[in-house]
């Protein structure tokens, strides 16, 4: 969003990353590159390691082996607030029974940018208000965060990420429990920000329509990656997801003029 990175070096470079918990290996030698400006989707069946992989990228999990590089720097060499200025994360709904207003939650995006004793300046306030406008929560800003609907909460968390001014936005199934309308709305909102996005998806058709690139993970290993039309094949769906499906073209074409693969599932097969 801010600094220009040379196009040939990836923004995020995952090199040989393994992660195990106890004796169990969850991620096996993951290699992955995310280029600036792309909207990359991560798909895979339940328990494949999607969340574990994303957690390695936002420093919740420390890889047992391998490195994650951001702009060619190992992310564990950076200070925690330095990294938070570059990478923002939207997680699945986080319940909280405390009385924080929507404005307070969105203003949390300022946290990594502010030193301990500094107060909120007018510029900061403008940033927060602008983010509230962007996600369309103008009428809700002084409500309590808890009183929002699921879709509104996710939009508020995206607004928080906007205030964070990141170069990369990571999202872990941000829409998995939302109604169809809000699934589309939240994802289109993320896409409209113009920032590099790496998001895991539950809905493969939504992933197909939104992403420039898809990465498929199964049993902790990356099995496929590439443009949606290359990745979303009937073979892959059978192999990785264990479903019988037909892949056609969606009646719409994407903004860049490519076909959007559309999956139709068949039932009664095992």
């Amino acid at each position: 969003m801010h600094t220009q990175t040379p196009l040939n070096t990836p923004l995020l470079n995952v090199k040989n990353v393994s992660w195990d918990i106890g004796n169990k290996t969850i991620l096996k030698k993951i290699n992955l590159k995310i280029t600036t400006g792309k909207f990359v989707g991560l798909i895979g069946p339940n328990g494949a390691g999607k969340s574990s992989l994303l957690r390695c990228l936002y420093r919740f999990n420390k890889p047992s082996n391998g490195v994650v590089e951001f702009n060619s720097t190992d992310i564990w060499q950076l200070k925690s607030d330095e990294y938070a200025k570059k990478v923002a994360v939207v997680l699945q709904e986080t319940p909280s029974q405390f009385n924080l207003s929507v404005f307070d939650v969105i203003a949390l995006g300022l946290t990594p940018h502010k030193s301990l004793f500094s107060s909120v300046t007018n510029t900061d306030k403008q940033k927060v208000i602008q983010a509230i406008n962007t996600v369309g929560l103008v009428d809700h800003s002084d409500q309590s965060f808890e009183s929002l609907s699921g879709g509104e909460k996710q939009r508020a968390l995206i607004a928080r990420a906007i205030v964070q001014q990141p170069q990369l936005l990571i999202m872990d199934e941000p829409t998995s429990h939302l109604d169809v309308k809000y699934q589309i709305q939240v994802m289109e909102l993320a896409k409209s920000l113009g920032v590099t996005v790496f998001a895991s998806f539950h809905d493969l058709n939504l992933a197909s329509a939104m992403c420039d690139e898809l990465v498929v993970i199964k049993n902790g290993e990356i099995t496929h990656s590439g443009a949606p039309s290359e990745v979303l094949t009937e073979n892959m769906l059978g192999e990785v997801f264990g479903v019988c499906a037909q892949v056609n073209n969606h009646p719409q074409i994407s903004k860049s003029g490519n076909n959007i693969p559309h999956i139709t599932y068949f039932y009664g097969y095992k």
């Binding site: 957690r55 919740f60 924080l100 307070d104 409500q143």
Partner: protein, 339 residues
């Protein structure tokens, strides 16, 4: 439109801050006129305004009531803010300074001193209480600080376990003590501000002011914790270390207060919840209002404890628990859902 909304939020916050500050100042002043000796607000005013007034009332007000009222205020605000911080970092609405075994540690220290040395009053008692609660705090941090995952759970469970452990030792010592010591320790556990003196007031003042200042400066990190550890990490908060730091600060406040005024339960649990009914806790105003309301509440509790019964003092802990729980229950019963 947003700006309008924001200004109503800000007005509400500033209003709450103004009201609670005004109430606190008034209470500190008004509380000085209550007590065994018959004094009026006019007497209080006189003793402030007439610098050479050496009347009996003036001496009562300056040497007995003022340190006591100030200590009550400090205790209330300290416990309230410690409770708020602990509820925030553990995301547990039931967390309060006493849940973590700090006060059981203090009781243990006091009982041990009484049993071993036969001392039943004075500065040594406070010192023993302080040492006891610091011991409990260190044990807790030793256990919780090592945990990399599930830190909150181990902190809460270890706190409860430590609390029972120290209570067991205390009971054992009491079992072997004479009835007089048992009565003394009972009175001590129920809490009182009767031991307040100008000479010792600096310690709670210093500790509470410093800890509150640090907590205020970490308010963004505190808010970030409310949405979960994972979310806080993504905002650049070093969750494990931060939680231990906050635990140390709230334990210090509690330890000093327990040492000086005995066990005063329920304020740390209740006041943050009461304030949360009215304003968002996520701002400086929210934190300050919590501490002011806690202090004001305690000042009036102390007034009640001095004046409810003629020639006798009721234990503070009894009153906080009684008033507090009734008020809290009615608030729960009557509150409107915030939209």
């Amino acid at each position: 439109m947003v700006t309008n909304n924001m200004s109503t939020v800000n007005t509400r916050q500033s209003l709450a801050l103004f009201i609670s500050a005004a109430a606190a100042l008034f209470s500190l002043f008004a509380a000085l006129s209550f007590g065994a000796a018959d004094t009026s607000l006019q007497d209080v005013l006189n003793s402030f305004l007439l610098s050479n007034d050496a009347s009996f009332n003036t001496r009562i007000i300056f040497e007995l009531r003022m340190p006591r009222t100030l200590l009550a205020f400090l205790a209330g605000s300290g416990l309230a803010i410690a409770g708020l911080i602990l509820q925030t970092v553990t995301r547990n609405p039931l967390a309060d300074p006493y849940l973590f075994g700090i006060s059981s540690g203090a009781s243990f220290g006091v009982v041990l001193l009484m049993a071993l040395a036969g001392i039943s009053a004075g500065f040594m008692l406070s010192a023993a209480a302080l040492l006891g609660s610091l011991l409990a705090m260190s044990l807790l941090i030793l256990i919780a600080g090592r945990q990399q995952s599930a830190q909150v759970e181990s902190m809460l469970l270890a706190g409860v376990a430590l609390s029972f452990l120290f209570s067991a030792f205390t009971s054992l010592l009491l079992y072997w003590s004479d009835p007089q010591a048992v009565a003394a320790i009972l009175f001590w556990t129920l809490g009182s501000f009767a031991r307040a003196q100008w000479a010792t007031l600096w310690l709670p003042l210093l500790v509470i002011t410093l800890c509150t200042f640090v907590m205020l400066s970490f308010r963004r990190q505190l808010n970030a914790m409310l949405l979960g550890d994972e979310s806080a990490i993504t905002l650049g908060v070093r969750v494990q270390r931060f939680r231990i730091l906050m635990l140390v600060l709230s334990s210090l406040i509690t330890a000093v207060l327990v040492a000086m005024c005995g066990g005063i339960g329920f304020v740390g649990l209740m006041v943050p919840h009461i304030v949360r009914f009215f304003i968002s806790q996520g701002t400086i105003a929210g934190l300050l209002v919590t501490s002011l309301v806690g202090g004001t509440f305690m000042v009036w509790v102390d007034v009640l404890s001095r004046s409810l019964l003629k020639n006798q003092e009721l234990p503070v802990g009894v009153i906080t628990a009684a008033i507090g729980s009734v008020f809290f229950l009615s608030l729960l019963f009557f509150r409107k859902r915030r939209v």
